[in-house]
């Protein structure tokens, strides 16, 4: 059985429904890329899985435990973590304060503070610095560290490479590989296909609020016609 089973998930905002029945399963120890054009509902899906956008119908099971419609803190304690689009770090808090708060409700996990800092060493040099003064890449690392320290079984990464230099993207890719090797399920929303293809074993493509295509990364790369039709890229 998969770690996460999503069936018929619907959600949206007061302006209208965005997800029109998403079906998705994610396995432990695998990285799945969630691709799709802008506005098809990728971030809404991530937000709904995290409990930040309320699900109106459908089911979400994490290891058999129902999570659809639960509060974000309940979902987080069940083992789901989020690295949100735009990082959403707390600018006035120091790096150290971010790490302290993240570990407060941590499930027992392999991701100790020391391990996270050894994976993202730049943060160790910036512990006393307010997060708002970090570079974009450092802020992204902090967002990743914050999520890992909660000890998740499933991590949702929403466009972690957005606006970052290639060297930083490479580090993020290494960190994602570390998460996979630790047995976590990873859902990676990504516009940067180089990163997605490098770290994902399979891809799911969204269109108009549904998952419309699913394939192993190697099959997807061998099928440029489908990629062009769904993503607008060759």
């Amino acid at each position: 059985m998969s770690l996460l089973e999503v069936q018929g998930l619907r959600s949206g905002y007061h302006r209208g429904t965005v997800l029109h029945g998403v079906d998705l399963s994610l396995d432990a120890g695998r990285v799945t890329g969630l691709l799709g054009r802008n506005g098809v509902g990728k971030s809404t899906l991530v937000g709904t899985l995290m409990g930040l956008v309320r699900a109106s119908a459908g089911s979400v099971l994490l290891d058999g435990v129902p999570l659809a419609g639960r509060r974000a803190d309940v979902i987080a304690r069940a083992g789901v973590a989020l690295v949100p689009q735009g990082r959403r770090i707390w600018p006035a808090l120091t790096v150290d304060e971010h790490l302290q708060l993240s570990g407060r409700r941590a499930r027992s996990s392999a991701w100790s503070r020391e391990r996270v800092l050894s994976l993202l060493p730049r943060l160790a040099e910036r512990l006393a610095q307010p997060a708002g003064t970090l570079s974009g890449g450092e802020q992204q690392m902090l967002a990743v560290a914050r999520a890992l320290l909660t000890g998740p079984r499933l991590i949702l990464l929403d466009e972690p490479s957005e606006g970052l230099a290639p060297a930083i993207v490479e580090q993020i890719g290494l960190a994602i590989g570390g998460m996979r090797d630790e047995g976590m399920a990873v859902l990676l929303v990504e516009q940067d296909l180089h990163l997605a293809f490098a770290v994902c074993s399979e891809v799911a493509v969204m269109d108009r609020g549904r998952i419309v295509h699913r394939a192993s990364t190697s099959d997807f790369r061998r099928d440029p016609a489908t990629a062009y039709r769904l993503l607008g890229v060759a």
């Binding site: 409990g51 930040l52 803190d73 959403r88 707390w90 006035a92 808090l93 302290q100 708060l101 409700r105």
Partner: protein, 295 residues
């Protein structure tokens, strides 16, 4: 010349600091609750009023440390409980616009104020300062009430205590993180409702304590709740939502505007309060130290 001006206006300046101290104690809770949880608590003034009447209840007849201390303790307890009730009441409205919460808390404020008026009448009731503070002292050759000097000191101590808790502890970091982005706090597994309960409880306790502390200056009387609520809202907007430093500076500014402004240009006193507010809003819509704009 500056020395002469200072000498002439010393009493007004000291009064400004005393009012500022009281306003800080009152406004800091309002600022954090609004900044953090988007709860615009218009019952904050009623909590002050309840504190003022508790001051009258325990320190209205005689001047005693026991009575004044009991009033402070009772006010803190009543404030904590009231904060808990308000937190529970506003929870179902958490995702609705500010106006819904404002209407609910305004309704609570009106009911509480009316109940207090029914119980205590419409007269201004006296609250005695504790012994030793109910007399005057000499400050740079001027006679000045000892209680007001003590109030400045108490305001400073509370400001330092609140600053240390919010800026230097993990609990405080949780509060500041909630001010900046509470969704991401809940995504770490923290139940926002408990943080809100704690902050609303502490903020309400401070408001009720401010009512006791303000008693020896303003007494206890119907209408005080509205006056102090407006002043506290002005402080919050000038200082910036969710900022301790902002509430402190905002309270000192409004304290001086209320006191020194009234002494220097009595005809423009009311205008100056809202003039200061308008000026800050034009120059810095987020307030002097605000992390985010009101809206």
């Amino acid at each position: 010349m500056i020395v002469d001006w200072f000498d002439t206006n010393l009493v007004s300046i000291l009064n400004g600091f005393a009012i500022g101290s009281l306003l800080f104690i009152l406004a800091v809770g309002l600022s954090i609750v609004f900044g953090m949880m988007d709860v615009l608590n218009l019952a904050h003034g009623a909590l002050y009023l309840a504190g003022a009447y508790l001051g009258y209840q325990f320190a209205g007849d005689t001047s005693s440390w026991l009575g004044f201390g009991t009033a402070l303790g009772a006010a803190a307890l009543v404030g904590l409980l009231a904060g808990g009730v308000l937190s529970t009441m506003t929870e179902p409205l958490a995702r609705r616009p500010h106006l819904d919460q404002a209407l609910l808390t305004l309704g609570v404020a009106l009911v509480v104020a009316e109940l207090l008026a029914i119980s205590y009448g419409n007269d201004v009731l006296r609250v005695n300062a504790p012994p030793g503070l109910n007399e005057s002292v000499q400050v740079f050759g001027r006679t000045y009430p000892a209680y007001r000097l003590a109030l400045i000191g108490v305001g400073l101590m509370i400001a330092i205590a609140v600053y240390v808790v919010v800026e230097r502890t993990t609990i405080g970091a949780l509060v500041r993180a909630s001010v900046a982005d509470r969704d991401m706090v809940s995504a770490l597994g923290v139940d926002n409702r408990k943080v809100k309960l704690a902050v609303l409880g502490a903020g309400s306790a401070l408001a009720a304590v401010a009512g006791v502390l303000g008693g020896p200056i303003y007494g206890a009387a119907p209408g005080l709740d509205e006056t102090v609520l407006i002043l506290a809202l002005v402080v919050v907007v000038i200082g910036g939502l969710g900022s301790i430093k902002g509430a402190f500076i905002g309270a000192l500014v409004i304290g001086q505007v209320e006191s020194l402004g009234r002494a220097l240009v009595p005809d423009l006193a009311s205008f100056m309060l809202f003039g200061a507010l308008a000026l800050v809003l034009i120059v810095r819509p987020r307030g002097l130290f605000g992390a985010k704009a009101a809206g």
